[in-house]
């Protein structure tokens, strides 16, 4: 199994508070991703990183920011949590091969509830 951990694994927070989720990898992979999973939507990409300090938006980035100061850590911040951000959040990592393709490996997820 790929060495990916997420913390915390479960969190309950109140509307309007900031929340930071952490993803840590031990694989030294260049690319890291944050997804959210909601019933009926599959997984949707929030933000991704293609190197230290290099990040870009995914399809559902509003209300989220990310930072990557080290290869191994990718942080997702909910600037002011809302009930619509109640979800399960997954981190993933990948490395691109010479073909330009690369499969992603997923962490165990963080279940976030915003009350």
């Amino acid at each position: 199994d790929a060495g990916i951990t997420q913390s915390p694994r479960h969190k309950v927070t109140e509307t309007g508070t900031p929340v930071t989720l952490r993803c840590h990898q031990t694989e030294n992979h260049r690319y890291m991703y944050w997804y959210r999973q909601d019933p009926g939507h599959g997984l949707r990409l929030i933000h991704y990183s293609y190197g230290v300090k290099d990040t870009d938006k995914g399809e559902v980035s509003d209300g989220y920011s990310v930072s990557r100061s080290k290869t191994e850590d990718f942080l997702l911040t909910l600037e002011s949590a809302t009930s619509s951000q109640t979800s399960v959040y997954f981190c993933a990592i990948s490395e691109i091969t010479g073909t330009g393709a690369g499969e992603q490996y997923f962490g165990p997820g963080t279940r976030l509830t915003v009350t």
């Binding site: 293609y50 073909t99 393709a101 992603q104 997923f106």
Partner: protein
């Protein structure tokens, strides 16, 4: 933009029966295709992938998938299902490219129930 359709939200099969989960994709170039499995409360595990070459790919746990360009499909199959295969299955399509992240677009998933 790339997209994935998994037309079956829920499928029930008997243990020992064969299984086929459908996946149709939309992508302008040669796609990179993946199947992932998710057990309850767990992360996603890669079952198999197609990048190029042989259109029939073998994966873990006895699964296989066939890439059919003419039908824009990448269906997952297993000849004999085990009770432990009960899970949710996700098809995904990737846009590759050196120097860029291999972003994936996921289908909405198919939940497999196995009856004994």
């Amino acid at each position: 933009a790339q997209s994935v359709t998994q037309p079956d939200i829920h499928i029930t099969v008997s243990e020992g029966a064969s299984l086929e989960l459908r996946c149709n994709y939309s992508y302008g170039a040669t796609p990179y295709l993946f199947w992932y499995v998710q057990s309850p409360g767990q992360g996603l595990q890669l079952l198999l992938k197609y990048f190029s070459g042989d259109t029939l790919v073998q994966g873990i746990k006895g699964f296989e998938a066939e890439f059919k360009r003419s039908q824009s499909s990448f269906n997952l199959r297993k000849p004999s299902v085990h009770w432990s295969d009960a899970a949710e299955y996700f098809c995904a399509v990737g846009a590759g490219g050196t120097g860029t992240a291999s972003k994936l677009t996921f289908g909405t998933g198919t939940r497999l129930q196995v009856t004994l």
